[in-house]
């Protein structure tokens, strides 16, 4: 939008035109925006508003959705500790998955960046390849490995005699966190990778020549420079993890509910659409606040250095 506006103003400057023509030139981009705007409104804004509206409707076991305005759903969420626990679990899982993805993903990106030509592309493909596979398939891999007595890893370890009972992975929070961290890893690697591209390749040599050791170079020179990449990768991973559906529903199952799986159940099992809508809206609002807030903090923190 700003590009097209600046082009028009340049044209206006180049060709001295009467004021009226000039103004029509300034409005010219708006009609061009209409198709995309209409699509955006139709598929994002309207459903979103309808969901918000839905969360204020009433629902009865025998009456279904009643089109009245009520705060009943919001009061239910507010007063029932079950929802607190569920939201706390959702954000705890997302937070832990983000931390794990950062701790493993940042070094992964750094090592990848230092690799030589043929290997670099090869391993980049290996890291990004999973994005081409459905998240359901990737998560089911974990289920195959650790699913109860018949999981491949559990079976093998028990056969060897290292463990007596299967490793508890399925239907545990730990399991969901590990699987989510794995599934989201490519986003973290990509984000850190992008930050590393901006690091001067000579900068490590510069620090080396000034007498810094490898650990100091990592801690004082490289890490501060890729921190914006880690943080923005963290925001992506956190948002995707907190709203993830497939992984928590496969690993966590019906027992270990998070916001997305709960909303799904309310919609499709209980058929209590208004309550499901309220949960979904609450998740959306919380995520927007967290993301916008942390983004603002990151931008302020690094504005001076990385403009």
């Amino acid at each position: 939008m700003s590009t097209s506006a600046s082009i028009t103003s340049e044209q206006g400057a180049a060709v001295p035109a009467p004021a009226q023509q000039d103004r029509s030139g300034a409005w010219a981009p708006w009609p061009l925006l209409l198709p995309a705007l209409a699509l955006f409104i139709a598929v994002v804004i309207v459903p979103l508003l309808m969901t918000v509206l839905l969360s204020f409707h009433n629902w009865g076991q025998y009456t279904g959705i009643e089109f009245v305005i009520t705060l009943k759903n919001w009061q239910e969420i507010w007063s029932d500790p079950y929802f607190y626990e569920m939201f706390a679990r959702t954000f705890r899982i997302a937070g832990l998955a983000t931390v794990i993805a950062a701790i493993l993903g940042a070094p992964e990106a750094y090592i990848l960046n230092r690799m030589r030509a043929p290997w670099k592309g090869f391993f980049l493909l290996i890291i990004l390849g999973p994005l081409l596979i459905s998240v359901v398939a990737r998560t089911l891999g974990w289920a195959l490995l650790f699913g109860g007595n018949s999981g491949v890893v559990n079976k093998a370890l028990m056969a060897v005699g290292l463990i007596d009972t299967p490793i508890p992975f399925m239907f545990t929070e730990t399991g969901v966190v590990i699987a989510l961290a794995h599934v989201m890893m490519p986003f973290m690697v990509l984000s850190v990778w992008a930050a590393l591209q901006r690091v001067d390749p000579q900068i490590e040599n510069a620090a080396l020549s000034l007498g810094a050791g490898q650990v100091t170079i990592m801690r004082r020179i490289i890490l501060p420079q890729i921190m914006p990449g880690v943080l923005s990768g963290g925001i992506i991973v956190f948002a995707l993890s907190a709203s993830a559906f497939a992984t928590p529903s496969i690993i966590g199952g019906r027992r270990l509910k998070v916001a997305a799986t709960l909303a799904y159940d309310e919609f499709l099992n209980t058929l209590n659409w208004p309550l499901g809508a309220a949960v979904a809206v609450l998740l959306l609002v919380a995520l927007v606040l967290i993301i916008v807030g942390s983004n603002a903090i990151i931008e302020r923190r690094y504005a001076e250095v990385f403009r």
Binding site: D200, Q202, I203, N205, A206, A207, L208, S209, L210, G211, A212, G213, T216, R220, I221, P224, Q225, E304, V305, F306, R307
Partner: protein
């Protein structure tokens, strides 16, 4: 005595020879330039001195001590990189203080030395600026201060001025030279810019294809180039084909309608070289090389003439002294002093 010594140093990357058998000794306090086109091995040589690249063979000695097993972080060299490689997340002062911090210099002394270093490069008041907020020239000064504040034995400069615009580059050349003279740090500069090498160095090492072509003062390398490569790389040179007439007594070199006394020990076909600014315009009686001016270009302080001589094309540079100059299409005679011309057997590089 020699302070920094490169003894038969070579570097091979697989089958590719980057540096071949380089021997060089740099005196304490000397400013030396490694000059050559890209790919001549000058940067590899610098990186071997810095320790970023290992030698394939040979040895590098600093003050009599073999650097072979000394880690780059322990060599105590100051390096200014082409990209400056400043730490973008640190202020100018923090950048400069980094090397001192690594050496465990106490805070008070550190601050004093950083202040002095900033003053030395004329950046007082910029201590708290971040590199991205500084101009190229200012960043360059910070990089120089960062390299010098640790009082390095040797200062290595890797094309430090190539990212600056022409005017700023000239200013920085003068300043760099002055700073280096004041503190007397032994300096090795890598550059592909022959005017920069001449303006700054005590001695120039001209390199080509991984080998040293010539080592000498700027004046020597320009006036008495050891090879065709050096004469062509350092400034412009006219070349004419000639022939030694051994039957004449004494022997003479013949080119077109001209003849000059031949140097001893040369016979057969030769190449005559002469710098364009050493060539003058003579009259018919001067018996110079017959030429016609095809192009005349005014360049402010001098004129540039492109000529077609009886022995091929030539260029002539004349100072703009205000005197009348020949015009395009005019027939002239090109004359020069015998001592200004070089004669070497043809076919020899």
């Amino acid at each position: 005595m020699s302070f920094l010594e490169l003894n038969r140093v070579s570097k091979h990357f697989g089958a590719h020879v980057a540096v071949e058998d380089i021997t060089l000794s740099v005196n304490k306090g000397e400013f030396i330039s490694l000059l050559g086109p890209s790919g001549c091995g000058k940067t590899t040589t610098l990186q071997m001195i810095a320790g970023f690249v290992e030698l394939s063979s040979g040895a590098i000695l600093l003050n009599g001590r073999d650097l072979g097993n000394v880690k780059p972080s322990k060599r105590g060299l100051g390096i200014v990189f082409q990209s400056y490689a400043l730490f973008p997340h640190m202020t100018a002062a923090e950048n400069i203080a980094f090397g001192l911090e690594m050496r465990g210099v106490p805070r008070a002394e550190r601050e004093a030395r950083v202040r002095d270093a900033l003053a030395m490069v004329g950046l007082e008041g910029y201590a708290d600026r971040y590199p991205r907020r500084m101009s190229g020239g200012q960043q360059q000064r910070v990089a120089l201060a960062r390299a010098l504040v640790i009082k390095p034995d040797v200062l290595l400069l890797d094309e430090p001025l190539s990212n600056l615009d022409a005017k700023l580059r000239e200013e920085m050349q003068i300043e760099l030279r002055q700073i280096q003279r004041n503190i007397g740090t032994t300096t090795v500069l890598v550059t592909h810019d022959q005017t920069e090498a001449m303006a700054l160095s005590d001695r120039i090492v001209v390199m080509s294809k991984g080998r040293i072509e010539q080592i000498g003062t700027p004046h020597e390398t320009y006036e008495r180039p050891a090879s065709a490569f050096v004469s062509q790389f350092l400034g412009k040179t006219n070349e004419f084909p000639g022939e030694v007439d051994g039957d004449a007594v004494p022997p003479v070199v013949v080119a077109g309608s001209c003849r000059w006394p031949a140097p001893a020990g040369i016979s057969g076909p030769v190449t005559i070289t002469v710098r364009p600014e050493k060539v003058g315009f003579g009259s018919e009686v001067d018996k110079g090389l017959a030429a016609r001016i095809t192009n005349r270009i005014f360049q402010g302080n001098h004129w540039l003439f492109q000529c077609e001589t009886e022995c091929g094309p030539a260029i002539v540079i004349r100072q703009n002294t205000g005197e009348a100059q020949p015009v395009e299409g005019e027939s002239v005679r090109l004359v020069w002093r015998t001592e200004d011309m070089g004669i070497r057997p043809r076919g020899m590089a």
